[in-house]
């Protein structure tokens, strides 16, 4: 009995070992190292790294560019998360019904997700081009002068937000579509017999049953909003005058353009802590209100 118990333990460790090693090497160790580094100054050849306590974090509170990045990122998150989730739900319900050319529509919605972000950003760069870009031409038909979307402070952040929504919504649609197809058709029939309207059916039956998916999508959307960087690099490089600077791009700049690794580590810790806090709220509070079957 004990021998068999031992064997299964060895088996378990052998199975888990590789993933554990990878997880520790590429996820946990870097996170711990970053937290440690954030309390040290940036090593320079003539001034080796030394313990500075909370100095890096104090520098952050006085750094106007950091605060701008925080605000930009909040607006970016507020702009992308609700819109892309709502859009995904709408598209999923739409292509879940029996409509003509359903496969084609599904594919069209999903295409942005398949394309690499850098390619997408390059395409959008030309959509936004003043004078002859796609948007300018469409507006031109109505005699409206198109603004310089990426080149003016008022529109640049909204413009990069739109690209993110366009890219994310198709991805989230897939999860909603999968969830919708697990809902038993008997529920729809029952609702129809009761004479419930389409809206009531959605509000009282479909939406509550989709809540676990919504939570999953929400977590992904939040992470996505703080993780986006690639299309910023192509579209604006954080400009004009930091108007589209997001946190992760700022961390990249501080770390790899300025080589101020100590400060970059501190910024990373703040980002990690924020994301951790949001995850706790999401799972701790929201999950209790969700009904699982």
């Amino acid at each position: 009995m004990t021998r068999r118990f031992d064997r299964s333990w060895i088996h378990a460790w052998l199975m888990l070992g590789p993933s554990l090693a990878l997880l520790a090497l590429f996820t946990h160790w870097p996170a711990v190292a970053t937290i440690i580094d954030s309390f040290y100054s940036t090593p320079r050849p003539r001034r080796p790294s030394r313990m500075v306590g909370f100095e890096n974090f104090e520098q952050m509170t006085a750094d106007p560019v950091f605060w701008q990045a925080v605000w930009n990122n909040l607006w970016f998150a507020l702009g992308t998360i609700p819109v892309s989730i709502a859009l995904a739900l709408l598209m999923a319900i739409w292509v879940n019904d029996r409509i003509a050319g359903r496969t084609l529509v599904r594919m069209a919605y999903f295409t942005p997700t398949v394309l690499p972000m850098i390619a997408v950003a390059n395409i959008w760069l030309f959509f936004y081009t003043p004078q002859y870009g796609l948007l300018a031409q469409v507006l031109g038909v109505f005699g409206v002068q198109s603004p310089n979307w990426l080149g003016s402070k008022d529109t640049a952040l909204a413009a990069v937000t739109l690209v993110a929504v366009w890219k994310e919504a198709g991805f989230f649609m897939i999860f909603y579509l999968a969830a919708l197809q697990t809902i038993s058709p008997t529920l729809a029939e029952a609702a129809a017999l009761e004479g419930a309207s389409r809206w009531t059916y959605f509000r009282r039956v479909q939406f509550p049953l989709l809540m676990p998916t919504t939570l999953f999508v929400l977590v992904n959307a939040v992470i996505g909003a703080f993780r986006t960087i690639d299309h910023i690099v192509v579209l604006t490089k954080g400009g004009p005058d930091n108007a589209t600077l997001l946190l992760l791009y700022y961390i990249y700049q501080v770390g790899f353009s300025f080589w101020d690794t100590g400060y970059a580590a501190a910024l990373t810790v703040v980002l990690l802590a924020t994301l951790g806090l949001i995850a706790i709220i999401q799972y701790g509070v929201l999950e209790r209100r969700i009904h699982y079957r």
């Binding site: 050849p45 081009t129 004078q131 002068q145 310089n148 990426l150 004009p240 005058d241 790899f256 300025f258």
Partner: protein, 433 residues
């Protein structure tokens, strides 16, 4: 020590060649390997050119093997090179921005070339480069970089649109006032809509570089040669920025807001702008894609003529062995001979980096058939060093942010430059002790 290695290498390769003609791997072991990072920043078959240079060099120098590694943009290349330096195994040599010099010195990532300059021929070689390219390659009395793919800012104009506007298609504007007058004639409006802009000066990504054209013309120098002091708020600098802002806001001949560096050549091809400022490195690109006759000229003069230099230098890694550094030095000398500098300039559009390259038959033929190619060289007389300081990226960002704030109307030119200078002061103060 080196001699012993060399002799052993020769003996080994000799023996291998005699006894085992097919044992290529054994042969390769005796070679000094020179890894070499290079970025691509303009259009054209750059990778193919570099590979063929490496192959030709190896044919002449069998004991050295060159390993060119394409490493992305300039930005990505320095990130990779410095990361490799920090991890202990950097490439023996890399082509990086000439403005990265102070950063590389501060990180103790490179060695100066002075120790390798021994013979009179070496000294003559070093003296052959255009002096304005050496400004960003030397500091503290030492030479840290060797000019390779260098450029300046030039003015491109569309001759067809000049003719349409009643201007002489062969004459570009030569002064600031003319530039405005020409641009006014070249701007076409359709009600509130502008269908064709007179001029475009890009302001995304690295606006400081094109702005330096304007500041030089206004008579300002942005930083000192020691790289620890900037003059962003000097009256001439503010005046230069005011001129740029006025082009769009007062004269309405230049698009408002930020003008994309990447789409500006396309705007020019699509006849959406009649004149553009961009790098001479785009020359081959424009020549291939412009479907109309175009001209290339020096930038118009303000108080004086002027443009910054730009582009990349060769650097030698400090963490490589002496033998590797020597081999790389040999390769750098080889690739910058007049013939090869000329070939590189012709195939890419970069400025051939030394005077005698322009005397080679190949280059003479090329310039005779395409005089525009010589403009960048002629402009070198008026060129100044590109903005480069300690903590270069950060100090430059301070200026870029200020420029974009003024161009988008967020701040007045004076206030924007004052803020940029204050930020640069804060960063550079520790380097003045």
């Amino acid at each position: 020590m080196t001699h012993a290695i060399d002799r052993r290498t020769i003996l080994k390769t000799g023996a291998a060649a005699l006894t085992l003609p097919l044992a290529a791997p054994a042969l390769a072991q005796g070679k000094t390997e020179v890894s070499f990072f290079y970025p691509v920043a303009v259009g054209g078959p750059i990778t193919k050119l570099i590979d063929s240079f490496a192959a030709d060099f190896e044919k002449e120098n069998p004991s050295i093997s060159i390993k060119p590694i394409y490493s992305g943009t300039y930005q990505e290349t320095i990130v990779k090179a410095l990361t490799a330096h920090k991890s202990g195994t950097p490439p023996v040599t890399s082509v990086l921005l000439s403005t990265d010099m102070f950063t590389l010195i501060d990180e103790e990532a490179i060695v100066p070339f002075d120790d390798f300059i021994r013979t009179d021929a070496d000294k003559k070689w070093l003296a052959s480069f255009f002096p304005s390219f050496m400004e960003n390659s030397q500091t503290e009395g030492k030479t840290w970089g060797i000019p390779f793919q260098r450029s300046t800012v030039v003015l491109y104009w569309n001759k067809e649109l000049f003719k349409e506007a009643g201007l002489d298609p062969e004459k570009p504007p030569t002064t600031w006032a003319e530039q405005i007058a020409f641009a006014e004639k070249l701007t076409k409006r359709d009600g509130a809509n502008t269908t064709q802009w007179g001029i475009q000066i890009p302001s995304s990504g690295f606006p400081y570089w094109l702005f330096q054209g304007l500041t030089t013309q206004a008579g300002a120098i942005l930083m000192n040669p020691e790289g620890n002091k900037t003059a962003y708020d000097a009256p001439a600098v503010v005046e230069a920025l005011q001129y740029w802002v006025d082009l769009s806001r007062k004269h309405k001949v230049h698009p408002t807001g930020i003008v994309e560096w990447g789409t500006t050549p396309r705007d020019f091809f699509e006849r959406k702008c009649a004149m553009m400022w961009t790098t001479t490195g785009n020359l081959t690109n424009v020549r291939t894609n412009a479907k109309f006759p175009f001209g290339v000229g020096m930038l118009p003069a303000g108080k004086r003529a002027g443009s910054p230099t730009g582009g990349g230098n060769f650097y030698l890694s400090k963490k490589s062995s002496k033998a590797e550094q020597e081999a790389a030095f040999k390769f750098i000398q080889w690739i910058t001979t007049p013939e090869r500098a000329a070939k590189w300039g012709i195939d890419t559009g970069y400025v051939a980096v030394r005077g005698d390259a322009w005397e080679t038959p190949a280059m003479k033929d090329y310039v005779a058939g395409f005089p525009a190619a010589a403009v960048a060289r002629d402009q070198l007389k008026f060129a100044v060093a590109e903005l480069s300081t300690h903590e270069n990226q950060r100090v430059t960002k301070a200026l870029n942010d200020g420029l974009q704030a003024a161009l988008t109307g967020g701040k007045t030119p004076e206030a924007a430059m004052k803020d940029s200078q204050a930020e640069a002061e804060r960063i550079l103060r520790p380097y003045r002790r």
